[in-house]
């Protein structure tokens, strides 16, 4: 069948303006006319005269050759794409025309965002009633708004992290607090990892506080925190769990000799005098040590309390020393801590 003049009552200029992405086909599926925007998409390629199925592939039905059954496709929603790159996708509707041919009208559908970029389209390429430009506007407006929302979320997230950090940090020393320690111990217990617990009490700290005031005491605590941080690894946890009480948790560590060395080094460094407002503060530390590998079934609370018992033995034995927990400590109870004399030689001018 040759190309026939389409019997369209509508002048082509009107058709072009209202449906800038239309195609007219003859009864055999040969393209006889192309709307201006659709024409623009193929650059130098002339669509008129080509068969529809040479230009477009139909994304619908079980791979049937669609030119053979154009009449079956009328009135239904079509999805199609260019056979040759760029393989832009389209939505379309095919309608029968009085001359026995067809009118196929296309739109980009959701692919309009990419199409506008790909083909450098302007608003005059769309029918004035087409919502494509409004859609582009919305997408852009939403992106801008979403950007702002994301920024807000990030700031809120930052504030939240800071708040959480504060909640698990001792504000005076910057060390972790008891809450953080409990979390770490719970995690280690859950993971069944081996760890060591050091309970550390400062010796003579009460004397510093009493004779030199809280400012001096605070200064000493900050120096202690610095020492404990320096003498432990990044993966270890140092927590201040009371006024002058600290707990150190060593992850993946069961070498007793090594741990004793660390404790002794800490004590030695704690004994270095701290100068505050011209006066010298002298403290020391007592340490109790328990290690998860001591136990067949390590229990966090038991290990903590055993380390505490060992600490108490250190104090009882004259302070400034390390005691490793052993079951004998439980068998031979020591006097109550209040029975221990509080030494007061902590301050010298």
């Amino acid at each position: 069948m040759g190309m026939c003049d389409p019997v369209v009552s509508m002048p082509p200029k009107i058709l072009d303006r209202l449906l800038p992405m239309h195609l007219l086909l003859d009864a055999a599926g040969v393209i006889t006319r192309v709307g201006p925007t659709l024409e623009k998409l193929r650059g130098d390629e002339t669509l008129t005269g080509q068969r529809l199925d040479d230009v477009f592939a139909l994304r619908r039905g079980g791979g049937k050759c669609w030119s053979a059954q154009l009449e079956d496709l009328v009135h239904s929603r079509l999805r199609l794409h260019f056979c040759r790159p760029p393989c832009t996708t389209f939505k379309g509707i095919l309608m029968p025309m009085p001359d026995g041919g067809y009118l196929l009208n296309l739109s980009f559908g959701i692919a309009v965002i990419d199409a506008v970029r790909e083909y450098r389209l302007t608003s005059s390429d769309f029918a004035p009633t087409d919502l494509a430009v409004e859609m582009l506007y919305l997408v852009e407006a939403n992106t801008a708004v979403l950007d702002e929302s994301k920024k807000l979320n990030m700031r809120l997230q930052g504030a939240r992290l800071a708040a959480e950090q504060q909640a698990s940090t001792d504000t005076l020393t910057g060390l972790k607090n008891r809450r953080a320690m409990d979390e770490v111990l719970a995690r280690m217990s859950f993971l069944n990892s081996s760890f060591a617990v050091m309970q550390l009490d400062l010796d003579f700290f009460k004397a510093v506080n009493d004779t030199m005031g809280h400012a001096a005491g605070d200064k000493v605590l900050q120096v202690v925190a610095q020492i404990l941080t320096n003498e432990t690894r990044m993966i270890d946890l140092v927590a201040r769990v009371g006024g002058d009480e600290f707990v150190l948790i060593f992850d993946q560590m069961d070498d007793v000799d090594q741990l004793v060395k660390i404790a002794e080094r800490i004590i030695a460094r704690l004994e270095e005098p701290v100068v505050f407002e011209g006066k010298t503060c002298i403290i020391s530390g007592s340490v109790g040590l328990a290690i998860s590998s001591f136990y067949d079934q390590p229990d966090v609370d038991k290990i903590l309390s055993d380390a505490d018992l060992a600490l108490y033995a250190s104090k009882h034995a004259g302070r400034a020393r390390v005691t490793i927990y052993s079951p004998e400590l439980r068998a031979n109870p020591l006097p109550e801590p209040s029975d221990l004399p509080e030494l007061t030689n902590a301050v010298s001018s």
Binding site: R117, R120, S123, L136, Y137, E140, N142, A144, K151, L152
Partner: protein, 194 residues
């Protein structure tokens, strides 16, 4: 007032006069915080405090500053998206002008909580328009002057704008379109970042 409005005022002061000036405004307006959040809402009184404090510190009449804010919103690189969103209004300045009464609806589509004053454009005589906008909150008329002036430049159109004052609770801006293509305008691609 919506955070976007407040944030715009903050960015205008910061980008035009520097961080120190913004800090001075924060102090003078007794804000109690350093930054407006674009996606939160604030009491209208906060916005008024900021505008009056800034006008005083910059030693400018408030209406001049409001108009500068309008210009800033279109011209400054930090807020380029607004110019683009407005350019979706039409291919020419005239088309854009005839679509300005859609702006409150367009704004609401993007940010449902953002309420702009209702506005209406009428053609008084050929090429002469009157933009009538609700004076609630008062002052948007001056911002609109800045925006229209900057958009005319953007399209390359020559316009004469005049703030015609308050009438029956509305702010009136008169717009005379002298020449549609007076100069080469800035290009506008529908696709972003082309």
């Amino acid at each position: 007032m919506h955070g976007l409005v407040n944030r715009s005022i903050q960015c205008f002061i910061r980008d035009t006069y520097g961080m120190d000036t913004w800090q001075a405004v924060v102090q003078a307006a007794e804000l109690g915080f350093d930054n407006f959040e674009a996606m939160l809402s604030y009491e209208d009184s906060v916005t008024h405090q900021v505008i009056f404090a800034a006008a005083k510190i910059l030693d400018k009449p408030a209406h001049t500053m409001l108009e500068d804010i309008g210009t800033y919103l279109i011209c400054h690189k930090n807020v380029g998206y607004l110019r683009r969103l407005l350019r979706f209004g039409g291919d020419t300045f005239l088309e854009f002008l005839l679509s300005v009464d859609e702006l409150p609806d367009r704004a609401r589509l993007a940010v449902p909580e953002l309420k702009l004053p209702a506005l209406e454009l009428s053609e008084v005589s050929p090429g002469a328009f009157s933009l009538v906008m609700a004076a609630e909150p008062l002052g948007f008329g001056h911002v609109a002057m800045g925006i229209l002036r900057a958009m005319a430049d953007d399209y390359g159109a020559l316009v004469y704008l005049e703030y015609a004052g308050l009438q029956h609770g509305n702010e009136i801006v008169s717009v005379q379109l002298l020449e549609s293509s007076f100069a080469e305008g800035r290009t506008f691609d529908l696709a972003i970042g082309v």
